[in-house]
């Protein structure tokens, strides 16, 4: 072996170095749009209009950010987005835990059939149900109102599926022991089952929060142009029409940077659970 080393070592080191360079190059290219977004938000309007484009802001400043606040009601939009994302996320976690528990641990007639129907809705593009849903929320008096954004999204099939996958792994003995002690089913779910599937709860929290923070089609439809109720993503789209052309690039980029921050920050903290949950639902499912 030792006599082979000098021959093998050199090409191995070289190949490792080359592969590292390739990986870093792809990472840089993939990060480029977001880096460009942040850099552009710090440029002066003159820099944004230069041809060829300037990459690095000469005198970085936050003027664009204060200007955004003058064009759209930034504070209100953020509160609206936070309301939508938080309420749906909490509700989805609770309803998914309950239904996931029932599908994982109860035996009842029609269980697999009901589960299949629910899972099928996971693959339904929202546009297919958009038109009647819009009328339905109108009947319920929810249109042009934040509640109209939230109410149809308090439960989803993906959450149920994810929770069922994880709760299946909770030992039956643990649940039976609590039943013998006379604990109610809800107590068992929230005191025993939920704490043992915390990674799944973390993943679902991230999925639901990001999905509803980012969602655009349904809020745009149900809010009927009521700008007071707009979440940040819809307010952002108004920035572009506010002043078309290169003049407003800094403004648009500042708005985009602000909207991107909450989901990306959440992702940085919960990344591990997210990736694990994709493994659990994507492959074994």
């Amino acid at each position: 072996m030792s006599s082979m080393r000098p021959y093998r070592r050199h090409p191995r080191t070289w190949r490792r170095g080359a592969l590292t360079v390739v990986i870093l190059a792809i990472a840089v290219a993939a990060a480029f749009p977001l880096v460009w977004m942040v850099l552009s938000s710090l440029k002066t309007p003159e820099e944004s209009m230069q041809v060829p484009p300037v990459w690095w802001p000469g005198s970085p400043n936050l003027n664009a950010f204060t200007e955004v606040a003058g064009v759209v009601n930034l504070g209100r939009s953020f509160v609206n987005s936070a309301f939508i994302a938080l309420v749906t996320t909490v509700a989805i976690v609770v309803t998914s835990l309950m239904a996931g528990y029932a599908f994982a641990k109860y035996r009842f007639k029609g269980r697999d059939w009901l589960f299949a129907v629910l899972i099928a809705t996971m693959f339904l593009p929202p546009i297919v149900t958009l038109i009647p849903l819009y009328r339905l929320t109108g009947y319920l008096g929810l249109n042009a109102n934040l509640l109209g954004v939230v109410v149809p999204n308090l439960a989803n099939a993906f959450g149920i599926f994810l929770m069922r996958q994880y709760i299946k792994g909770v030992p039956d003995d643990l649940i039976d022991a609590a039943r013998v002690d006379g604990a109610s089913e809800f107590l068992i779910l929230f005191k025993i089952v939920a704490p043992s599937v915390l990674p799944a709860i973390a993943a679902l929290t991230l999925f639901a929060f990001v999905y509803h923070w980012n969602s655009y089609l349904w809020p745009l439809t149900v809010l009927q142009g009521n700008t007071d109720q707009y979440p940040i993503v819809i307010s952002l789209s108004r920035l572009l029409s506010y002043n078309r052309g290169a003049m407003n690039t800094g403004l648009v980029m500042a708005g985009a940077t602000l909207a991107v921050l909450p989901p990306v920050i959440l992702f940085v903290f919960l990344q591990r659970f997210f990736v694990d949950s994709i493994v659990a639902t994507g492959v074994k499912g």
């Binding site: 190949r15 592969l19 990986i23 990472a27 993939a30 990060a31 749009p33 977001l34 460009w36 060829p52 484009p53 309803t95 309950m98 239904a99 029932a102 009842f108 009901l114 629910l118 809705t121 693959f123 339904l124 593009p125 929202p126 546009i127 297919v128 038109i131 009647p132 819009y134 009328r135 339905l136 009947y139 149809p152 999204n153 308090l154 439960a155 089913e185 779910l189 923070w213 980012n214 655009y216 089609l217 952002l236 789209s237 572009l240 290169a246 648009v252 980029m253 708005g255 985009a256 909207a259 991107v260 989901p263 990306v264 992702f267 990344q271 997210f274 990736v275 994709i278 493994v279 492959v283």
Partner: protein, 297 residues
């Protein structure tokens, strides 16, 4: 089953099942029913009048209704096919880079790729509309450095749809990469060790072991990629409004425009049903083409 068990089963299932029934299943059934009617979205369901297959006949007919719809359908088909064809190989290639431990940087790459999946599509559309800018955008500038002439990107009917596909691939590929990594971790190491003993090259190992064993992962990825692709809306609504010359008018945008903005609820529903049926056909086709046929391989 005792009474207590029945009660807790119903109690646990009622919230989620009830909500999904009211806000997904009922609208689904309504969409199908409304597709056979003429109905203004501004009025109650009771105003819908049965017209049989007239809406579907319009979609296939020679009027502008049919022409616009078929253009949107074709654009969506092209968009979907391009997305899948780009995303699947990229996700496997990037997945191999993230999964390998020979060189450092895999986790960094995964983090960067997945971060863009967290970004609201509306922000992606805004940023890319500036990146694509023919004169002030950095993409044409970089192309210039390597001697490629400036491209028209979003401003020409020839390139607009492809430009939107590219920004969509950038946003989504991180998710599919993680799916590919999940598939790669399921492949037993012993297979590669045996192949090494037999003197199989890395190239051969990829085609004979890795790719065949990723079949189910790729099937799942393809289905998700198709379903995601037909949902493209934000870049079209925000930047191109379906143009230039209808070249980016896609189904989600078109159905919303007809069914909500023009309030032609019956016609819009017929389009939604057609989209749903086409999706089912595509997914069934993907399953028959890609599903693991057990012993045969």
């Amino acid at each position: 089953m005792t009474g207590r068990q029945t009660r807790s089963t119903i109690g646990m299932l009622a919230p989620a099942t009830g909500l999904i029934a009211i806000f997904v299943l009922v609208p689904m059934v309504l969409t199908i029913g409304l597709s056979f009617t003429q109905w203004s979205t501004q009025t109650g369901f009771e105003t819908a009048s049965f017209v049989g297959l007239a809406n579907f006949a319009d979609l296939l007919g020679p009027t502008s209704i049919g022409r616009d719809f078929r253009a949107a359908f074709a654009n969506t088909a092209i968009y979907t096919a391009l997305s899948v064809v780009l995303i699947l190989p990229l996700s496997v290639m990037l997945g191999l880079l993230v999964h390998q431990t020979f060189a450092p940087g895999g986790i960094l790459l995964r983090t960067v790729l997945f971060s863009s999946y967290m970004v609201p599509m509306i922000a992606v559309a805004l940023v890319w509309s500036k990146l694509y800018s023919p004169t002030e955008g950095p993409i044409n500038q970089m192309l210039g450095w390597v001697g490629i002439p400036p491209q028209t990107w979003l401003s020409s009917p020839r390139t607009a749809l492809v430009s939107i596909v590219l920004l969509n691939v950038w946003q989504q590929v991180g998710y599919f990469t993680v799916l590919a990594v999940a598939g790669l971790t399921q492949i037993p190491r012993s297979l590669y060790e045996a192949a090494l003993v037999d003197g199989a090259s890395a190239w051969m190992q990829f085609w004979r072991i890795t790719l065949p064993l990723l079949r189910n992962t790729l099937l799942f990825s393809a289905v998700i990629a198709v379903i995601n692709a037909v949902q493209v809306f934000e870049p079209v609504a925000l930047i191109t409004q379906g143009g230039p010359v209808n070249s980016t008018n896609v189904m989600t945008y078109h159905i919303r425009r007809v069914g909500i903005e023009r309030a032609q609820g019956g016609l819009g529903s017929a389009m939604a049903v057609t989209l749903m049926l086409s999706l089912i056909v595509v997914i069934v086709l993907l399953f028959t083409l890609l599903r693991d046929r057990g012993e045969q391989r």
